[in-house]
């Protein structure tokens, strides 16, 4: 069965949704989205420690999208083609879930998969060592990413990343990522 983005989206709206957005991921959108979650009562009533962790991981997820999304397929709404991404923050029982979705070129699947599998396979101590190593190399991508996003998310949440690749058409793959903060 073909991948249906609306169904995927609806599946992710489980729990109490604090924020959901789909469209162009821009610096202004990131500022606005952060403002929205800062005003959420759910988070205002959280312990400082959890609240800051959610903000921090949320920003990292959005900036990961900002730095890495590929062009959306042409049959998606016209105004959503550039920097199209989806982000949903919800509270589900005792944990917060951040789900992101974006299109990537087929050619990038292996790189992303290897990266996440590697991060997921490391112990806490190994994650810290790798983090320090990459932080010290001082390299930045053209878009200003530092190559630390996924590591930081796993380090801060202490949970593995859950991801899926859905085939959208012959050239476009939809990359879905779930991050849990407990």
């Amino acid at each position: 069965m073909a991948f249906n983005i609306t169904e995927w989206y609806n599946d992710k709206l489980e729990g109490e949704v604090i924020l959901n957005f789909n469209g162009s991921i821009t610096p202004d959108l990131i500022t606005e989205a952060l403002g929205t979650i800062e005003n959420s009562l759910n988070l205002k009533n959280e312990k400082n420690k959890i609240r800051k962790k959610v903000y921090n991981v949320f920003v990292e997820c959005l900036q990961n999208l900002y730095h890495h999304v590929d062009k959306a397929p042409v049959d998606l709404h016209d105004n959503q083609q550039n920097n199209f991404g989806v982000i949903i923050l919800s509270k589900d029982g005792s944990f917060y879930r951040i789900s992101t979705g974006n299109f990537v070129d087929k050619s990038k699947i292996n790189v992303i998969k290897d990266r996440i599998d590697q991060v997921n396979s490391l112990s806490d101590k190994e994650i810290r060592m790798l983090y320090l190593d990459i932080m010290s190399n001082g390299e930045f991508s053209d878009k200003g990413g530092g190559g630390l996003g996924m590591l930081d998310i796993v380090r801060k949440t202490g949970n593995k990343l859950e991801y899926y690749f859905y085939k959208y058409n012959d050239s476009h793959i939809f990359f879905s990522l779930d991050v849990y903060i407990s």
Binding site: P27, I30, T31, L34, G35, K47, N48, K49, K52, K53, Y55, N56, V59, E60, Q63, Y66, H67, R128, Y131, L132, M135, S136, G138, F140, G144, G145, G146, L148, G149, L151, D152, K156
Partner: protein, 126 residues
């Protein structure tokens, strides 16, 4: 030397670089998409400062949280400070964190493990 003061914004911290008093302060949150753009002028300032330090330097870092691209730029700031310290000048970093904020505490430990300058961890009550 010119004192640089930057007011905080939703994505960038308050910064004060005061060469005369030897005080460097970074406070608030640091989550810009393009961290280099924000930090480059500060690192350039430190470069100039390092060639003309004539007093002790106190560095106060009190961040609420920061993104990973800022983490690299903050390391660059510490590296500049380390070079001042290695020349025999007194430099001390005060790293502030809220009492239950283990992420910010660990971030301080990360820098401490890479940078060789006196580092004081200061816990703040909520």
């Amino acid at each position: 030397m010119e004192t640089i003061v930057r007011e905080g914004t939703p994505k960038t911290p308050y910064v004060r670089l005061d060469g005369e008093k030897g005080i460097i302060e970074i406070k608030g949150r640091s989550i810009p998409e393009n961290s280099i753009e924000f930090y480059k002028p500060l690192i350039d300032w430190l470069e100039e400062y390092s060639s003309d330090v004539n007093n002790d330097t106190a560095v106060n870092v009190q961040l609420e949280y920061f993104n990973t691209s800022s983490s690299k730029c903050i390391l660059d700031i510490f590296k500049k400070l380390e070079s001042i310290f290695k020349k025999g000048q007194k430099v001390e970093v005060n790293w502030y964190y809220e009492e239950d904020d283990e992420d910010m505490f660990e971030a301080g430990e990360d820098y401490q493990s890479i940078i060789n300058i006196p580092f004081k961890m200061i816990e703040m009550e909520e």
